[in-house]
């Protein structure tokens, strides 16, 4: 068995999970108009971390080494999560999984290429920088599977604990808002001109965001607040490399498999944390997958209206918030949502309320036809 024992979120809404949770409960969003021609020639909405705040927080760590923006976010995130535990990061029994889509991609720009050694842009190198900082003797396992990376990384970590490879797993992830990623999503015409509106009838695309997040899993239960990992699965649509399946096939299969593994019936699910990017196709697809499992009455939220789409770290940020929702027995509203705009009737949360939460489902989908689902439960 694997238990969730500590977590952190570094985002524009705060540098601790609790700060982020309170901002969400108040309905705040980290998405703002960004005017930075180094990132994109025109203004665009995104959730970006203030660099001064990041540097101020990092100065306290008094490091002599030079780190990239993303590395600072990841180190701060892991540090905060570890400080809440007695776990020794230098032990061979502690493993690290890093989840990211593009890592230090900002180093590819021609004016940044000489600021760090050449291989710093490689994802395994990013993993090495992190393990060196914390003195971890193991090779960091780097997972890069588009937007399901975060959820998949938790699944991998739980599995490695279950087979006895490690006693503790530090699952960390991060992605930044860069010229590379903004231009790419712009060329896909996927970005909304305003802050995104998940599941809404007026939704017209996603908003990007940046964040780092860490979730620590352990073989031993540490307190009465612990939540356990019940199961995780992934599935491919086998349909298209960028467009989600029209029938929700991959997402449906991932949920089906995880219900079987967890030994849970759909009626036992108290809450769903959806992917909810606010693109017309993604949200429609998720509503179909939810409907096919008869989960229509279960309260669903998407946090993309608050954090933006944080790509490889989205699954970690959203799971950290889901854990806090369970501890607080609170259903957080979907920021940006006002009227249902998907073909299947699903129960999107429009107002933050209290509810006893025991068993929850996390969904994720991404480019490459990939889908993931995970079930967690109070210990």
């Amino acid at each position: 068995m694997a238990f969730f024992v500590a977590d952190n979120i570094i985002s524009p809404l705060g540098f601790k999970t609790a700060d982020n949770f309170h901002a969400l409960a108040k309905g705040y969003t980290g998405i703002d108009m960004i005017n930075d021609t180094k990132i994109y020639p025109e203004a665009f909405p995104a959730a970006m971390i203030n660099s001064n705040n990041l540097d101020d927080a990092f100065i306290e760590l008094a490091s002599k080494e030079k780190y990239t923006r993303l590395e600072k976010m990841l180190i701060l995130s892991i540090k905060d999560a570890l400080d809440k535990t007695k776990i020794d990061p230098t032990s061979a029994r502690t493993g690290i999984v890093l989840s990211t889509t593009k890592g230090n991609i900002d180093l590819m720009a021609s004016d940044r290429q000489n600021s760090f050694e050449k291989n710093r842009v490689l994802l395994w190198k990013l993993g090495e920088v992190i393990s060196h900082y914390f003195g971890n003797p193991n090779q960091t396992m780097v997972l890069s599977n588009a937007c399901i990376s975060g959820v998949l990384a938790i699944q991998a970590a739980a599995m490695l604990i279950q087979v006895g490879k490690f006693d503790h797993m530090i699952v960390t992830g991060g992605d930044i808002v860069s010229r590379f990623v903004v231009s790419g999503f712009m060329s896909f015409l996927s970005l909304s001109p305003k802050a995104c509106k998940p599941f809404d009838k007026d939704r017209d695309g996603l908003s990007l965001g940046e964040a780092a997040s860490t979730i620590i899993l352990s073989k031993d239960i540490t307190g009465k607040d612990d939540i356990k990992f019940l199961g995780g699965a992934s599935a491919n649509d086998a349909n298209h490399i960028s467009g989600p399946s029209r029938t929700g096939e991959g997402s449906y299969i991932a949920i089906k498999k995880v219900l079987e593994e967890a030994g849970i019936s759909p009626g036992q699910i108290d809450h769903i944390s959806a992917h909810g990017t606010a693109t017309p196709y993604n949200d429609e697809m998720e509503s179909i997958a939810i409907d096919r499992h008869h989960l229509n009455e279960v309260p669903v939220n998407s946090l993309k209206g608050s954090f933006g789409h944080t790509l490889g770290t989205a699954g970690l940020v959203e799971t950290a918030i889901l854990l806090e929702e369970m501890r607080q027995n609170t259903l957080l509203k979907t920021t940006g949502f006002s009227e249902l705009g998907v073909s299947r009737k699903i129960n999107v949360i429009s107002k933050t309320t209290n509810k006893e939460l025991n068993t929850c489902l996390k969904m994720a989908s991404g480019f490459g036809g990939s889908n993931a689902a995970m079930i967690i439960q109070k210990a």
């Binding site: 780097v142 590379f180 990939s370």
Partner: protein
């Protein structure tokens, strides 16, 4: 106890393609990996025009899977029981550089959607899944060097927890200097002419078989 065994494997490197260690195609005069893959694809004649739209590293992984799966071993399995777990060291670095070149200058700023989509390493897994209708577990991992231990443990655990019954595993990497693909097909069928234990030791041995 039921277990996975490797039924077939494929290497592509140094302008040669080998199946189960035997040379299946070579083109030593190839001027680049791109040139080699195109020639090899025409040789095997799978007839799949989408191949030419892929970036080079997806072409490498896709071609390796075409050669690997010529005898269609997956027909005995349900789509959701068939997984793909691939790894490499460079992710999609060369495709990233191509996309970066298209956005470098504000005066010549034309980001290409068809290049951008391939700047995710798991798109290769998506392409193979579409081709054969595989709907099982997916994962793309990045390690400095091929990590047979991890790949063996990860796939075996997915098998033991009933999340797959058959799987493609391996390593598909491309840097500006070199390229290599080593992928294998493992499933739980018992009576087969070739059945190699799905262990880190055997996977490492097969990986090093072709130099």
């Amino acid at each position: 106890m039921e277990q996975l065994t490797i039924k077939t494997y494929c290497h592509i490197k140094n302008n040669r393609i080998c199946i189960n260690g035997e040379l299946a195609f070579e083109y030593p005069e190839a001027s680049s990996m791109h040139d080699f893959l195109k020639k090899a694809f025409k040789h095997f004649k799978p007839g799949y025009a989408k191949f030419y739209k892929m970036d080079d590293i997806s072409k490498l992984g896709f071609l390796a899977s075409e050669v690997l799966l010529q005898d269609k071993p997956y027909l005995a399995y349900q789509p959701e029981d068939t997984g793909i777990v691939i790894s490499n060291s460079q992710s999609t670095l060369l495709t990233d550089a191509e996309f970066q070149a298209s956005i470098q200058d504000d005066t010549n700023f034309y980001p290409s959607p068809s290049v951008f989509v391939y700047t995710l390493p798991n798109i290769m897994i998506g392409e193979i899944s579409i081709r054969h209708g595989f709907r099982g577990e997916n994962a793309f991992y990045i390690f400095e060097n091929f990590n047979a231990n991890f790949i063996a443990d990860y796939i075996n655990q997915l098998f033991l927890s009933h999340k797959l019954k058959a799987c493609i595993g391996g390593w598909v990497d491309q840097s500006s200097e070199n390229y290599e693909a080593f992928i294998y097909w493992a499933d739980n069928k018992k009576d087969a002419p070739l059945a190699i234990e799905h262990t880190a030791k055997e996977i490492e041995r097969l990986y090093n078989l072709i130099r």
